[in-house]
């Protein structure tokens, strides 16, 4: 296990990786990238569908869609995709509450679907999301947008849009705070005693 040098806050504290301003700029940059990548060819006629993975992926998807709408004039439809029932680690954890799944009324068939999550870690959440999507329809293509990629993948999964790459140690935890849920925007790096809490 690698042990990378930690930030100024030291092992017991936490370091702010992105401030509220950074988060806003990062989302704006990702919006431009989405427009660029999906504006070519057949995608240009139908905008992509942004599906956030609860809990923090959902407001992120909405913000990303707002920005895309602002820059391109067309706000893509958004939704939420709860993947709890598809997780392969359910047995190892206490029962989780289910969160909302909300797909656009037109469905996802033949659309480009962009999954949006806050942190990409092991890749198991995204694997579960791919399984869940298959039960909801057949998208033409599935892409992945994450605010933070912290590494440590356990599956061959890669994001198409990454807000910030944050190489971490497994003993560190990455927390994404969003105003909609946490009252403020920030990305924090924490030193944790046990296995990190993020499961993305």
């Amino acid at each position: 296990m690698s042990s990378r040098p930690r930030g100024a806050a030291g092992s017991a504290g936490e370091r702010e990786l992105l401030t509220a301003g950074d988060v806003a700029r990062t989302i704006a940059r990702m919006a431009h990238q989405v427009i660029e990548k999906t504006a070519n060819g057949a995608e240009s006629t139908t905008p992509p569908v942004l599906l956030g993975i609860p809990s923090r992926g959902t407001p992120l998807a909405a913000r990303l869609a707002d920005k895309i709408g602002e820059f391109s004039g067309v706000r893509p439809p958004t939704g939420a995709l709860d993947v709890t029932l598809y997780r392969d680690d359910l047995r190892r954890r206490p029962p989780r509450a289910l969160e909302q799944t909300q797909l656009p009324a037109d469905g996802i068939d033949d659309r480009v679907v962009i999954l949006v999550d806050d942190v990409l870690f092991s890749g198991r959440t995204i694997r579960a999301a791919l399984d869940a999507l298959r039960d909801h329809g057949r998208p033409r293509a599935v892409q992945l947008a994450v605010l933070v990629d912290r590494g440590h993948r356990e599956l061959p999964i890669r994001a198409d849009y990454v807000g910030k790459n944050v190489p971490t140690a497994r003993t560190e935890g990455v927390s994404v705070l969003l105003a909609e849920i946490d009252g403020r925007d920030a990305v924090l790096l924490r030193a944790t005693e046990e296995a990190p809490g993020e499961d993305s």
Partner: protein
Amino acid sequence: MKHLLATDGLDPALATAVLDTADELKHTLLGREVKKLPTLRGRTVITLFYENSTRTRVSFEIAGKWMSADVINVSASSSSVNKGESLRDTALTLAAAGADCVIVRHPASGAAQRLSEWLAEPGTSVVNAGDGTHEHPTQALLDAATLRERLGSLKDRRIAIVGDVLHSRVARSNIHLLAALGAEVVLVAPPTLLPYGVESLPVTVSHDLDAELPAVDAVMMLRVQAERMHGGFFPSAREYSIAYGLSERRQKLLPDHAVVLHPGPMLRGMEIASAVADSPASAITEQVRNGVHVRMAVLYHLLASEGATA
């Protein structure tokens, strides 16, 4: 949650979590072509029914199958129970064969509780699908889910439970759950069909249905359980119907928003008029539909996680 045996003593937070899960499951499966979730793949669920039942057994079977569990139905009439095998031996056999969960219906009150003690060692979960006149917790949960859907919340809602409360496990489970979720419960029944110790229950009691109806948000009709009645609890079916049946005239006394429930099977014309059972106020088919989602939620909370305790 390891077992679901009763609503008496069920933590309101856990009950609410089950209802919320059922809500989300219903929402998730709505309009889907493939109603199948991989959540309980590799888990084995056995329904062990010592009494006849269509809706409860089928509801559990569908719930298990939609969650990808392997569901096996055992009915007492077609098993070694016929040869005199005891409940304990039957249950231990099923657990030894690999059942993760046994869903039991039994004519004896307390059977599910005993089963959970015998199966504590193999670690098999037990769900009470109705034991004698004691409890039927999943029915109460599906009733609560239906009421929440129609009324928004159960807090401070007034619910009348009408009819044969004495023999009704549905009534008993509902009394505890509805009270735990913040509703006021009024029992409306002839004195002969009220249980002993009714004064210790969190309810008020009335014998006058007409007087109660204008003030309730929901009325839950009960089945008259002829098979459990050994004696004259009321003079005649006609007289019962006149005093405690939900007729069209009585339905007009209800507030506009009031919901009519019945756990089924219904005795149309005696407990409830056909026109009332089929009216927009009636949520009887919704109860059945919600039953599947509630039972999926129960199986999820029991079986999805091995780390679950108590």
